[in-house]
Symmetry: C2
Subunit: 273 residues, 2 copies
Amino acid sequence: MEKIKRSERLGAMARILTESPNRIHTLGEFCELFGAAKSTVSEDIDLIDHSFAQFDLGCVETLAGAAGGVRYRPVPSPARVKRVLSELSERLQEPGRMLPGGFLYTSDVTSDARTAQALGEILAAAYYEKQPDLVLTMETKGIPIALMTARALDVPLVIARRDSRAYEGSAVKINYIAGGGNERIETMALARRAVKAGQRALIVDDFMKGGGTLQGMVDMMREFQAEVVGVCVMISTAQPEEKRVQGARSLLVLDGFDRANGRANVRPAEEYR
Amino acid sequence: MEKIKRSERLGAMARILTESPNRIHTLGEFCELFGAAKSTVSEDIDLIDHSFAQFDLGCVETLAGAAGGVRYRPVPSPARVKRVLSELSERLQEPGRMLPGGFLYTSDVTSDARTAQALGEILAAAYYEKQPDLVLTMETKGIPIALMTARALDVPLVIARRDSRAYEGSAVKINYIAGGGNERIETMALARRAVKAGQRALIVDDFMKGGGTLQGMVDMMREFQAEVVGVCVMISTAQPEEKRVQGARSLLVLDGFDRANGRANVRPAEEYR
């Protein structure tokens, strides 16, 4: 095999590590790919880690032992988190986002891949230690953020549906109370094969008002005998203060609307200010 | 500013380029970040491009002129495309994926972030030259692949809904004919502000049987006076041969089911074999 120089290895190695977040690569994998010794690959990894740390691009961790190797986690610094959430708050405060009925137009933001990835990486960073086996969301608007959270954690995404479709096979259906204000009973369905008993689920959605949909997802996981290791949303309303679901993490808070100019009052949640 | 060595720049630069596919970064941006001269940054970029090319990790392009700079496109080689699609075909042929009614269970595949990213990059690669302004999909199962296609193209994702929800604001609603076999009229809604007249849309979905939903999306774009630059899906059925939508690109073909053992017959489409 042709000898590959360090300056040629570093870019490729950075790309391989970052395109599979939270996945452990053995040093042997890189040794073989580059025809390099383990000590050389180790030095490369230190250089990449140093470079990422210096420019706030996440962290490269070396794990010792039999199951050891190297993995990349796109953990953003507190300063980066603060900047992302404050820019997002600004964006959601643009005039014209107030819809009839006191709703906030967020579809352009929730389905933007870069935003979804930034938010997914912020959320994932808070749950690496809890080692979730899957991310659960409910269709539709939360899917991009939930997908990017699952990507950063390297676990599958599971999507609950409003009704069980023929092409999902046998499904578990539950009812839940939706709507903060005008309450109603809704149905949520999830393919039986999507979750196994004993698995650890991280619940991710875009929006929380009363918290009924999120509590529905918690109830759904109970039906599957799965454990919920966290519940989180992009944005939650300040009112009602009491939510149906307990202990949810929210990145942003919607305090209400300035009805005179149609602007929403949005701010990063307390812990991210 | 502290002098940063090449070995420290390369990892960071690879990460910055690859995390924003198809976005043009000026050389000045990197010069400032690293405190390096343009000629030095140019050499770095050549090294990264060479490294990516050697290991089939996409391409880094330098654009001359006033709007010039450098951009990364995650274009996979034909060999990589072939491998991804043949592995995916294998996976979809696992026993137990045949559902009552002749449906194929694909939800675990369509919502897997790594698979969605690989497929999104394959699809995007075919449309860079058409310069789409947005990717359009219809909820729910196509969202992850459409999102990853939009990510690779650096354009917004727009999601059509089954019904217009209060929190989407004013919407355009159309009827379309769904279902290959038992045909029925369904409704599709899209927020009025989501697409502007004259924009170029790439339509992406997970599955095509009769092609009615895809044709519905084409009709929807006509309502918005937007141009459709392509229609593509992850998998289409071999039957019916005649689809309601014209000229759709499909990555995989479902030839049918081997009913004795419940296995689907899935293969990469002709042009990817």
